[in-house]
Each structure stands twice: as C-alpha cells, then as structure tokens.
Amino acid sequence: MRSTLLMGNEAFAWAALEAGVNVVAGYPGTPSSELVETVAKLHAAGVAHDVYVEWSDNEKAALELLVGASASGARGLFTCKQMGLNVAADALLSANYVGVRGGLVLFVADDPGPISSQTEQDTRRFANFAKVPVLDPWNPESGADMMRHAFEVSETWHTPVIVRPTTRVNHASTFFDVPSETHARPVPEGGFEKDPKWVIFPRRSYAAHGEINDRLHEIASEEAAGSFNPLYAYAGEECAPADAGAAPLGIVCGGVSGAYAREAIEMLIARGAQLPAFDFLQVGTPFPFPVRRARAFAAGKTDVLVFEELDHVIEDDLLMLAGRDKLSYRVHGKLDGSTLARGENSVEDCARRIARFLGVTDALPEEPAPDPAAPQAPARPPVLCAGCPHRGAFYAVKRALRGKKNVLCGDIGCYTLGNAKPLEAVDTCLCMGAGITMAQGVAVAEPGTKAVAFIGDSTFFASGMTGVANAVYNQHDITIVVLDNSTTAMTGGQPHPGIGRTLMGPVSDPIRIEAVLEGLGVTCIEHANPLYLKESLAAARRAVDFEGPSALIFRSPCTQIVRPEPRAVVDDDACVGCRVCVEAIGCPAMTMSADGSKMIVDAATCYGCGLCVDVCQHGAISAAVRTEGRVPFAGKAGE
C-alpha cells in the first residue's frame, strides 16, 4: 500500500478494481470520464490484471454489453454522466426486471450547478423510477467504500446498483492507500447458463416486479443498519456518533452537502456560537429510503432542516415518513424555500441557513460591503482554442450561407462554443445527436430555410447515425456538417470508432465517416480542411446548394492532440488595424495593441494554424505552414 493523491474518479476506479471488476465500459462525459481512463491506465501499466475496459460507442451500447457480461457471471461497471443514463434507460429498466448475475454497478455522475451539463436532473430520482438502489457519497472516501459495497449488494440481490457521486466528489482529490496490483475476479466456470429467465416476457416481468419490490424492502432495511447513513449528536462543541436522535432539532444531508453543512457547523462553533443540541443525519442510501434509520433520527423532532442538491428527494421521504408515522415535525428544505431550490449548495450558504435554524445568527461573519472602486473582472467564458479547426468550419459555412435564411443546429461538444461572439454559429443545442434531427424538423416546418447541422466525429458515432438515416429515408433538405477533429475533445481526448485506437491497446480499422454516410445513402459528400478558407467556402457552397440531404466533412486535428506549428507573424507595415481578423474569427491568440493601431499575435497562444492569413484582407499576416506549403499539423502528433 502506498499513499497517493487520487481524484474522486480515480478512487472510484481503484475501488472497483479492488472489488475484482472484470469489465468496465462507458461513454465519456464530464464529470465522469476519468474513471474509465484510470482503469485503462492501470491496465496498461500492468497494475490492474485481467480487467477489460472500453469506451463504448454510446451509453446504451455500454450498458447492454455489461448486462451480457453480467449474465456470464462477470462483474461489470458502467460509467456515464447524468444524461448518459437517459440514453441507457431502456437497457437499465429491463435489466432490473431480468436481474443480474455478476455484480452490475452503474457509476452515474450528477452535475449540480450545472457546471458542464444540459440539465440538473437527479439520478436519485432516476433510481427510484427504475426501482434500482442508489448510493450517494459525500466525499471520495465514502464513494470508494460505496463502490466496493455496491458490487456485494448487486450480487446478493441480483439487482443493478447505482453509485451516484456529484461533480464536487468526482473532481475532489485526497490521499488514498492503493495496492501495488489488483486482480479481476475469475468469471465462473461454464460462463453463461441457458435459462428462460434471461428472456424478458410479460409474464416473467410480472413475477420480477414482485421480486424487485421485495428486495427493495430488504435492502432498505439492511442499509438502515449500515454505515452509509451515519447519525451524529451535536451537543455544545461536541459531536458524537449516535444510534438514535434525542434533540428536537435535526439536520439531514445528502451527498456533498453533508460536508458543507458539517464544515459550516464547525465554522459557527469556531466563531463562538452557543449551539443548542441537535442531531445530524447523512443519508447515503437515498433509495430505497432507509426508513428505520430515519425513524430513529426523527424521534421527538419538532423541526428538520434538509440540505441536498438537485431534487428534494430526501425531503419528500421525510415528509412521507411524517405522514405515515403521524409525526409532528416540520420539514424545512427546497419545498418551503428554506434551502436553495437549484444549483450548488456551499459552506457559506449552509452556514447562514443553519445559523438561522439554530438561532445563532450573531455568530455569522459580516458580509463585506461591495467595494464601489473594485474593477470589473474580465468576462472570460471558455472559447474555441487558438488553432481549433471548428473556427474555420463555422466561419466558412456562415459565409457560404450569406443572404440565405438559415438555422444552424449545433450539438454536444467543444463546438457548442461556436455560439459565442464573433462566430455566433450555433442557433440550437439540445442533446447528443439532436442537431441532425432538429435540422430536419426546421426543414419540414420552413421549406425555404436552409437547415444546417453541425456534429463532431465522436457524437456522430454516438448518436448521429440514426439521424442521417432518417434524413435520407425521408429526403430532408438539410446539410450535415461533420467536424472531424479525430478525438472526443471536450471530455479530454478519448478515442472513438472513427479513430480505431481502443483502450486495450490493439488498433482496429477506423470506421470511415464517409463510408457511413455513403452506406446510409447520402450522395453529396463534400470535404475541406477548415484551416483553408477558400477551399472550405467552395465546399460549403456546394453542400448547402445541394437539394436533399448533403454532407460536408471538415477534417483537421484538435490542437490538444498535436504539437504547435510556428506561430503566425504580423507585418506591422501592412497591418492597418482594421480589426477585421479579430471580429471575423475571434481567435484567442489575436489581440490589438494598446493604441488599437495593429493586431498582435500572442506568441504563447498561437498554434500556427494559418487561418488568419486567409482572413486578412491586407496580406499583413504570414504563417510558416503557408509559406512552406505544408498541411498544418500533419506529422505533428502530440506526445
């Protein structure tokens, strides 16, 4: 054992490996991605033995693969972010009825805020809907314990189990003792055993529903007695573990809110607050709700304050308990406005609300008055990187559409950032793969409008292909622009079917996007390197002028996977300070001199892609790739 700083997601990976997981599969999505990458890294390093790991094509593919592995007796771990479970929902709900053999754990990362997601959906609710147990860690340590426990629960009760951390648990780091190596548990001899139970039929489902109801009841009872729903009694400055509540006041927390609240309580004590006695319950197994534990906590309560992020899940269960047991406590939380109804909780917010709840507002630090002299911090939203190929693609398509009424349907990935000024090339963004199909809806509703869909290479394989088939089948007049940067850039550069490299090392033949489009019946397929404006503009015009479904593939690598070219150089004698380049493509490497008379290329930021050379109308910018006639980044694969 050696002590190592692990990010939450790395700790989850270690815990699963220690639990002997055989198969790990998922689809990338912040804040979940590092788990699969950690397993792959440890496997490649010869630390994690006998484990199989892959990035699947999408979440549904990953979960179905794992259900198959589980039926053969293997322990399986699925990973995704919260919306990924929507994609895999069909498989999950049925798998719960069929039941599992080898432990099947779903690691689903929620994202309060949201920080990098489309929705603030709550996987605890999803678990309730799917009738699957869910574990909700409050820090990486409890999460690692829950991961190991989840495999046991899954195999004991033949149920899938969800482990649901949130961003501040996934991306928080602390030190862990890790073993020198891990071994997957051998798959039982004989493997898959043929049995009618693996085939879902209505009659079988009716019986299974009863089994599910029974096991949820049993699991709730067991978890109520376990260590994932710790109860503490606070008295004065002391905090001690307890078996039952004694005080009339209580605080109940879910997830990382428990860490915020405990910190806030300590802050109030340190500031001299004389706290009345109260009880503190952390609910780590929110579904099935640990009723017995909650009942022990609730005895004699008059008021309960609940901190949880996303939905009011624990709050609802406490209200239900009060109704069922005819208890007279009041529940304060999201429903009555006592805690934040959306977004993240924080130590500061918990401190204010706890101080009010416990009647010690005198101990709160004074809110500093805003300083009228304070300068404004600069607006600094995320942007497409210098040298990003999407910049040229968006610019060319917008130029090609000048004078044509158009709707630009975006999708999920770095290229969503094309919505920002000055490109403003993303009019819609919904969910994975929706750009291609939304464009078809626009084309149907507004025949005179050119609907263009932008989709990245990874998203294309994950959920774009069925939309292409629909466009060809129903002959929708849209243009599909594939932004192929040869990686899954937004989530940190994961490989996908179009690249061929897998997480297990061997290279498979890349699936060619052209071949997919051709195979699905797209007849107009144009190509361009988006770093060359003229060629891109011509290709874009041909694609958008085509009647019926057309495609345009822009291909140039993500700058995160290549080394930079020599930077662009501005000829100060030729630059007239017209700002056309800055306002056309908004590259972060381009700024203006203090007097505004010249454009300046920032040497450290510029990637030497050469796009600005084409945009300048005064021939004032030069780049080595152009003067030497080289294709940018060819042969510059990163280390």
Binding site: R262, P588, M590
Partner: protein, 208 residues
Amino acid sequence: MLNVLIAGIGGQGSVLAAKILAAAAQARGWKVRTAETIGMAQRGGNVTSHVRMGDAGEEVHAPLIARGTADCIVALEPGEAVRALPYLAPDGLLVCARTAIPSVETTLSGEPYEAEPLLAYLEGAAPHFLAVDEAAICEEVGSRKVANLVMLASAVAASNGTSFGLRGAIGTDELVRAMEACVKPAFVALNRAAIDTAIARVGAPSVN
C-alpha cells in the same frame, strides 16, 4: 486550517500547482483536500483550484474554500485575482502575476485591457499583497509554461517567517521535493529553475 486558492485561466497549470501543494502538505502528515474546475471551462475560461490543508491535524470536510477564508490566493493573472478576491481572508495574502492576459471578449470590446489599474486596486484591497513579474522570471528560465511554479514558489517565499499567507508552514525544500514527486522527470530541471529563480527574486520579500 490552511486554505490556498489558485486562480487562473484554463491551460495555465493551476491543477498541477494544486497537486504540488497537496503533496507538500501530505508529506507533513496533514489531511488534504483539493478541488478543481474540470470540463468546458478549461478551454480558456477562468478556473480555480482549491487546496485545503488541516495544518493543525484537523479533519477537512468540504472540498471547496468558503468566501472570505482563503489564507492565500495565488493568482496567475491580475483580472483573475480581482475575480478571486472575495475569497481572501481578512488577514490573507494575495500573490499576483503581473501580466494581463486579454480574453476574446475584452479584445472584441475594443477597450484596452491592462494590468496596471487592476494591480493598483489589488494592492490597496488585499491585506497582504505581492505582485510578481512572472514573465521576466519565465523568460530567464526559458519557458512560459512554468508560470504556475513561479507563482507558487513566490507565495512560499512571501510567506516565509510570516503569520499570514502560508504562514511559513511550507519551506522551499518541501516545495522542491513535492514538485519532483509530481512532474515528469524530463521537466524537473525546468521547474526547479522556476522555483529557484522565483525565490531568488522574492528573496527578501517586500510584502506589505
């Protein structure tokens, strides 16, 4: 509790700086938690790394630093120092890089974006303040990529023998050892040079 907030722009290396600080604290046997901005914001957006150290042996619950409780802010850019300032504790230390880095938005606005007015404000607003000419140090060392280590080393030097900032809790040697444990062997010498040069510059700190 010792809270250090590292504020910068995606790509500047705040995550590595946090890791090094955590390693130094761990070597002392303290409980440590860190938290990072990961995801879309890393594409040139403003990012922060939180490092929380139980320097008195206490439990660390939350991964994030509360506003008004950062003992030290290490800012890799003056505008980001302004954004992070509400996190600084009443007796906190702000160590700030001198080079202003424009954003696409500031460039598009047409207004000049300059460091001086920001630094002037920060000097008056932060209880303890040190501005570091990180660009000059990076140039001397030969790489702009080590600004994170330059700033971290400056914070260590500025806290040497003080009761504020890092409160002298982490020495130069400890920082060097932690860096060596965290960076690839090929980059140890470069980062070592960044630390040494920064410490030599800050040397007798003129922290007010």
